[in-house]
């Protein structure tokens, strides 16, 4: 019996094909593999129909508890996704093609990626984008690698207010390269400017900052970027793309490189992936970018078309001298991002950012007025802010989770001394009623 249903050859065809090949059986095709190298085990369950499989996956998914109201972010955000995103990105011409090596029969993917690059440049105020990287954290690591290559220096100054997951990824990527990573501690949820200025030296390749930072604080890094430039140091700014509907762009701050995670642009939470990372740079650094880049050109008849370009940077040509080992991108997720941005449009995207801001400010006012609660990020914030609670934040969070509210991310795990602190995220999807309930429940947990 045919095992899977996805192998179409009939027994008769198999016989004919074997005779064309000139062997007696399929086993003969594997004769080149010596007996002693054969699999010692292959103890997998028997196969099943798609219906049984789907029922099983549904059962497994049922072990996830879905009725939680999330006030958590930390790099992954519960945002609205217009129906057209799933519909259009789900088209199989996008989903079941691959890297557009043959441009004439891949203009759909290529033009979409060129439009994506343009959209990300306009969002961030930067000059040039690649066609996406794996995620925001790895994009930051690639940006750090770029800065090391460009400057020939060996030190990275990284703000401790950068997402801890991203910082861990940077450490992993740089672990074998004899590079010094200096973390500059944040003070009260803000970047410590004096410490940064004191640490900047001629050995430093880059400063790494994030806006809004992990605590939710919003900043303008123009001064740090300028100070860095004076020392020949590059500035890398990580951003939350959705906030750029409202906030000053890395380009306006004078950043040399900007990165971010595209999940908030039309990609579902999906337990953290797939998403996409973007890496955008000033024009002069384009040849140092990792990953695929799509460029405009013309065909033999003078018509506009798009191709993968500057490929001599990449691993398949330059091998060990490539700008990165990356081969795939997150094309389909980047496409989702583009469709999301196009569906909302210029005004809609700005409005969405404003909605996040307004809701979060409402929540910040309300939660900040709960008895005993202090605002750590009392200054400007976007859709996240940090509270200091009169009790251990992990314990409070656990008790709120028990009543179906993921109230925020307790900071103690990453920031010793901040065990009472909770980062609260409020996206446009949270209703006033949900925010009010959170405030009521928080008060109950703290005081009853």
């Amino acid at each position: 019996m045919s095992g899977s249903g996805y192998c179409p050859q009939t027994p008769e065809q198999i016989r004919e094909m074997l005779s064309v090949i000139g062997v007696g059986s399929i086993a003969d095709l594997f004769a080149v593999i010596p007996a002693e190298l054969r699999a010692r085990s292959f103890e997998l369950p028997d196969g099943m129909s798609e219906f049984e499989m789907l029922a099983g996956m549904e059962r497994l998914a049922g072990r996830d508890r879905r009725n939680i109201v999330p006030f958590i972010g930390g790099g992954s955000y519960d945002h609205l996704i217009p129906a057209v995103v799933d519909h259009l990105a789900g088209r199989t011409e996008f989903a079941t093609s691959y890297t557009p090596y043959q441009p004439e029969c891949s203009q759909g993917t290529l033009q979409a990626l060129y439009e994506y690059q343009t959209a990300i440049c306009r969002l961030t105020g930067m000059d040039a984008s690649n066609a996406s990287l794996y995620d925001g954290g790895t994009a930051l690591a690639e940006a750090a690698l770029m800065a090391l290559r460009i400057t020939g220096r060996k030190k990275i100054l990284m703000d401790a207010a950068v997402n801890p997951f991203s910082r861990q990824i940077v450490r992993t990527y740089l672990a074998n390269l004899a590079v010094e990573i200096v973390e500059v501690p944040a003070v009260k949820g803000q970047s410590d400017r004096q410490a940064f200025l004191a640490a900047l030296d001629d050995e430093t390749a880059a400063i790494v900052l994030q806006n809004p930072n992990f605590f939710g604080g919003v900043d303008d890094f123009s001064d740090l970027a300028a100070a860095a430039r004076d020392r020949g140091v590059l500035s890398i700014v990580a951003v939350y793309p959705l906030s750029l509907g409202l906030l000053k762009t890395p380009g306006e701050m004078g950043a040399d490189l900007a990165v971010g995670d595209g999940q908030s642009l039309g990609n579902p939470l999906c337990f953290g992936g797939p998403s996409f990372g973007f890496l955008v740079v000033k024009k002069e650094h384009i040849r140092n970018l990792p990953g695929r880049i799509v460029g405009e050109t013309v065909d033999k008849d003078g018509r506009r078309g798009f191709v993968l370009t500057l490929q001599a940077r990449e691993q398949h040509i330059r091998r060990q001298k490539a700008t990165s080992n990356i081969c795939s991108n997150q094309s389909l997720c980047a496409l989702r991002g583009l469709i999301f941005l196009a569906a909302l449009g210029r005004e809609g995207f700005a409005e969405l950012a404003r909605l996040n801001y307004d809701k979060a400010q409402y929540a910040k006012g309300l939660l900040g007025s709960v008895r005993g609660v202090l605002l750590v990020t009392a200054g400007p914030s976007f859709n996240e802010f940090t509270l200091s609670l009169p009790k251990d934040a992990a314990t409070v969070s656990e008790r709120l989770l028990a009543v179906g509210i993921a109230a925020g991310i307790p900071l103690g795990r990453w920031y010793p001394g901040m065990e009472s602190c909770l980062v609260v995220t409020v996206t446009e999807k949270r209703t006033r009623a949900e925010i009010d309930t959170l405030a009521t429940r928080l008060e109950e947990v703290l005081w009853s």
Partner: protein, 479 residues
């Protein structure tokens, strides 16, 4: 076709957002705001739909065309596999970092754990991490684990050895992990030259990276010996699992001495390639490398529940924002569950049958530099056609006009004018025959009317594109 930005009409709206149910907050200080709103297109929803629907029609894809792109395993992606993801779409990845939050994502953690166990059995490795976001990142994790393992033995080695036929990601990965690369030539029989390899090895070599079967589509019968030689010099051996589709249930790299390997879920395990990604590259290790696996790891408690564990000090650390390309992991688990033991063996058997069939039918027409039974793909050279001035590229473009996505061309680098054909197991004899007929037609045209090949493609929205202009006059973003 116009760019979406060129279709924009100021003041036009697409998606309508919910009305705010909270008071408007005070504005942020002007210095923190962007100067003007981002120049995104302004279109109606219908215009957005038309734009992307028409772009989609400008793509060849597995669902519309035979796509024998060698080394990429462009098999059919079962639609049920996509359906399997839906119930998992809402799980928030930060939940496991909240006290008792793991209880809320037992299903999602279960996916990762179950898939890791299945991959371990399929490959004979001890354990897997599903965190790597693509094959290349799996390689990076693997080589970094090898580096950490050497450090734990008080050693700092200098070199990584790769065959010259390897994927570019192998040497690029070695460089990212701080190693110098030594390239070993391919012998006339198509495998890494055993003598040259043996001479290359010394106790400064940290790792040997091999693709199994190799990028010429051949199974190297000396692979166990190569592993043994490497081990004698204290080096570890990495298996690039890009070609696993050929050997499911036949060979397990873990059984024959490989210490680390990655698998490409989007190749072997039937998840869509997405126009370039997302892929997924889980990395598996032998027992001695367990402490070095990326962090965090998903484990199972004795009561059957799943938990997330930050790995110990020896771990190479975190590679991804969260737990990998989770949506791809769900699809791969669905695929393996549906095919099961017999289905997966059949995958490899039919993939190898189809590749050998194409190879035998075409070898009268094209040069076959390594003429022996192939595995899941075969590599021809257009050197015979070169005599008429026809290159592999011209044949590729002609195939496009005839409705076939071309094979991988100009890789591996060790074959001049390479054309690497990987039919996969999901293609019917009828499709293969139609493809073979067009390949033969192209070979005939190379002799009789090469101009017809030079003019191709003529049926696409664009003819051949000027890649030199693209690289000289860089335009990667419209103003």
């Amino acid at each position: 076709m116009e760019l979406i930005f060129e279709k924009s009409v100021p003041g036009r709206h697409g998606t309508i957002l919910p009305r705010s149910d909270v008071p408007r907050a005070n504005d942020l200080p002007a210095g923190l705001l962007r100067g003007e709103s981002a120049g995104l297109p302004e279109l109606s929803e219908l215009e957005v739909v038309r734009h992307f629907s028409n772009l989609a029609r400008r793509n060849f894809a597995v669902d519309t065309n035979f796509y024998p792109l060698g080394s990429c395993t462009m098999k059919y992606n079962a639609k049920a596999v996509d359906e399997a993801v839906r119930p998992f779409a809402g799980a928030h990845p930060v939940l496991p970092y909240l006290s008792s939050g793991e209880a809320f994502v037992q299903g999602s953690l279960g996916v990762i754990h179950q898939l890791s166990r299945l991959l371990a059995e399929i490959t004979g490795m001890q354990a897997f991490s599903c965190q790597p976001l693509a094959g290349a990142q799996g390689e990076m994790a693997g080589i970094m684990m090898i580096a950490a393992w050497h450090r734990s033995h008080g050693q700092q080695r200098r070199f990584v050895v790769v065959p010259d036929s390897s994927h570019g990601t192998n040497p690029a990965t070695a460089a990212m992990a701080g190693y110098e690369v030594i390239s070993v030539p391919t012998a006339p029989y198509g495998d890494m030259d055993l003598d040259a390899f043996t001479k290359t090895m010394n106790n400064e070599v940290a790792a040997v990276m091999m693709t199994c079967p190799n990028t010429l589509g051949l199974f190297n019968p000396h692979v166990e010996e190569i592993c043994a030689i490497a081990h004698r010099h204290g080096a570890l051996v990495y298996c690039d699992g890009a070609n696993l589709n050929a050997i499911l249930g036949k060979v397990r790299p873990g059984d024959i001495g490989f210490d680390v390997m990655h698998v490409n879920l989007h190749k072997t395990f039937g998840t869509p390639h997405g126009g370039g990604g997302p892929g997924s590259g889980p990395v598996g290790v032998s027992e001695q490398l367990l402490p070095f696996l990326p962090s965090p790891r998903v484990t199972q408690r004795t009561d059957g529940s799943y938990c997330l564990v930050e790995a110990g000090e020896q771990s190479i650390g975190r590679l991804a924002n969260f737990y990998g390309n989770f949506g791809v992991l769900v699809r791969a688990l669905a695929y393996i569950t549906m095919l099961g033991r017999h289905g997966l063996v059949e995958v490899s058997e039919q993939a190898v049958l189809n590749a050998n069939y194409v190879m035998n039918r075409l070898k009268g027409w094209y040069d076959l530099p390594f003429d022996s039974t192939c595995m899941h793909e075969c590599v021809f050279s257009a050197s015979r056609q070169m005599k008429h001035g026809v290159h592999a590229l011209d044949i590729a473009k002609y195939l496009i006009d005839r409705g076939f996505h071309p094979p991988t061309v100009y890789f591996p680098l060790v074959v001049k004018e390479a054309m690497m054909i990987e039919p996969t197991e999901t293609e019917s004899r009828e499709t293969l025959d139609a493809f073979i007929a067009v390949m033969i037609e192209a070979a005939d045209l190379a002799e009789t009317n090469p101009e017809a090949l030079f003019q191709a493609p003529r049926t696409m929205p664009v003819s051949r594109l000027d890649e030199t202009k693209a690289a000289r006059e860089i335009n990667v973003c419209c103003q």
